[in-house]
């Protein structure tokens, strides 16, 4: 699924490891989401939305 995770991460100058730390997941998971190889679970998607203070649809809307 298309997402804006990389873009939002870049706005804050975070590395994938930084973002992984904030979300308590592995860097591999962040990379997999950004490269659209993996769709996050609902709890993780909501956590991401809360972290970036954006609606889920805006981040994972395609």
């Amino acid at each position: 699924m298309k997402n804006r995770l990389k873009e939002l991460r870049a706005e804050r100058s975070w590395s994938q490891s930084d973002l992984a730390g904030h979300l308590a997941v592995s860097r591999q998971t962040i990379n997999a989401i950004e490269t659209e190889k993996y769709d996050p679970s609902l709890p993780l998607a909501l956590k991401i939305a809360r972290l970036f203070k954006r609606p889920v649809e805006e981040i994972f809307g395609g």
């Binding site: 804050r12 992984a20 308590a24 591999q28 997999a32």
Partner: protein, 143 residues
């Protein structure tokens, strides 16, 4: 003046290092447990002590394993993608071993392949290799 969010310290390093330490320790103890399980029966064959001690030494690694597995907290700090990868690897190993056994039985029945006695060691080794292959293939997909 507020520190920009990008410069605020994160707990990334502590989470990653915790993960690495836990995995290293678990890997080490699993290895030692495996060595014990394989070697202990051979040494206990000639043991002339009390039976309860013999059984205790033999079953102790299983007790340790049972306690570790029964723990509610996630020892490996697995996240959702890692759980998915492990599950896929297990499914892969199971189905290949299962249908592989059936195919082998058929080939043995018609005499294309010589029949041989299955040993636990051979089956466990095959399953372990298949699981590793499944893990490797799944992890490659998410690089």
């Amino acid at each position: 003046m507020e520190t920009p969010q990008s410069q605020q310290p994160t707990n990334t390093e502590s989470t990653e290092s915790k993960r690495m330490v836990r995995r290293s320790l678990l890997g080490f103890f699993s290895f030692m447990l495996g060595i014990w399980m394989v070697r202990a029966p051979k040494y206990l064959v000639g043991f002339e002590g009390p039976a309860w001690l013999k059984v205790g030494v033999l079953l102790l690694p299983w007790l340790v394993l049972g306690i570790a597995v029964s723990q509610k907290h996630r020892l490996w700090l697995e996240d959702e993608l890692e759980i998915l990868i492990n599950r896929r690897a297990l499914v892969f190993a199971f189905y290949v071993a299962f249908f592989g056994c059936i195919a082998l039985e058929h080939l043995q029945a018609v005499g294309f392949v010589p029949a041989f006695a299955w040993t636990n060691k051979g089956l466990m080794t095959t399953l372990a290799l298949l699981l590793l292959a499944g893990l490797g293939l799944s992890k490659l997909r998410y690089r």
